[in-house]
Symmetry: C2
Subunit: 207 residues, 2 copies
DNA sequence: TAGTCAAGCAAGCACTTGCTTGGTAAGATC
DNA sequence: GATCTTACCAAGCAAGTGCTTGCTTGACTA
């Protein structure tokens, strides 16, 4: 209600067509959906919520996506691709394992906690179960590939003697410690992702 | 459908009143709700799902609970009380800090991953945001009290020299590593909570 | 100038949702 | 034996739910 006057009888300019800003309307939907999925969860978020957030009517998102699940799929795949890309960069650097490890931690946490990626990352981590089986398989495949980056650096750290155990269990503990930050991190609080990464490295590695 | 014959015209015994089994119908609802909340999430679980699971009609749970949220509140508070009680016991033992720590890890993981508590624990960890503000505050209060148990043992471990940093950050990493197990633990897999606890202790503590 | 197309809107359909209401059968209590 | 209480059920209401349909409009194109 009070949303749109059906036909503004006097208005001359027929809507300023707010150009520039952001090209793609579809990606606006994805961003809005990501934020809402993080804030309220997939099931509690309605198509109407998403449409409202980008100033559409409730039927219009279905021009861009064939279903609500399709939106979720897009957000989740977007999320893991973002994390992977962010971490692959420091992982490919030629720093010493320890410094490389810390840079990877920082990259992962920057996505999870930063304004850019935290919506899609949280959606990926907490709402993937609402995907259909096929999409879930795809997420798992990409996640396994991503964790391969970590397994590799853990192995090097063991070779270096900074780590005594580079088993899958160690990797899972590491993922847990990192991904759980979304549950307690406060954006107004003092600690930066960088500092958190450093502390985590210090906890896990011995010198 | 095919659920209950309205009035069995010939049946003599008017329903065997399946005694014994489990006293309280209300707690059956809580258990069923916990399982469903873990499997599908709070929002995706309907009152009809919960009622079906204990063979009631969809209006009947409202005799025991005043709203769907009230069920969630009960499950969540039940969850944290269960974890707290399970960990408080080893925490109060007079073992050496290191052994005590490992016993606490085991206790926490036994609740999270065991058949008894994993439903309510998962609900607590992942669905608390759907509580109203008041209930959320109560959960946070209890959670802070619970984490106090951990902060205390971390402090002792530092005194003992097994840990270099007993800050809140260390505790949060620890909670993350533990609570994230629910995301990957397989009940058919080889590792027991006990073994996982031991490995985690080995990763965090130095000898 | 007519035709095409991308990007939406208005309306609404079929269904689901949490929850309420009036009733009722079996015990417990007086 | 009359009343009260417990624990439900049958029915349904009002508000949503995902999604579809037919249409419009402004920008481009032949």
């Amino acid at each position: 209600m009070a949303r749109v006057v059906k036909k503004a009888p006097v208005s001359v300019s027929p809507e300023p067509t707010f150009q520039g800003e952001e090209t793609n309307r579809r990606s606006e939907l994805v961003r809005a959906a990501g934020r809402l999925f993080r804030e309220k969860g997939y099931s509690a978020t309605t198509i109407r919520d998403i449409a409202d957030a980008v100033n559409m009517r409730s039927g219009s998102p279905f021009y861009h996506f064939k279903s609500k699940q399709d939106i979720l799929r897009t957000v989740a795949l977007d999320g893991i691709a973002t994390i992977h890309a962010a971490v692959a960069k420091p992982a490919a650097s030629n720093k010493a394992p320890r410094a490389r490890f810390e840079a990877m931690l920082t990259a992962h946490l920057n996505v999870l906690l930063g304004d850019e990626g935290r919506d899609i990352a949280a959606t990926l981590l907490h709402e993937s179960r609402h995907l259909d089986a096929e999409a879930q398989d795809e997420v798992i495949r990409l996640k396994d590939a991503y964790e391969g980056l970590w397994q590799a650096v853990l192995k090097e750290l063991k070779t270096d003697g900074a780590l005594t155990d580079d088993s899958a269990l160690t990797r899972l503990f590491l993922m847990g410690a990192m991904n759980w930050t979304t549950q307690w991190y406060r954006h107004d609080g003092g600690r930066s992702p960088r500092q958190i990464a450093r502390q985590l490295a210090k906890l896990l590695l011995r010198d």
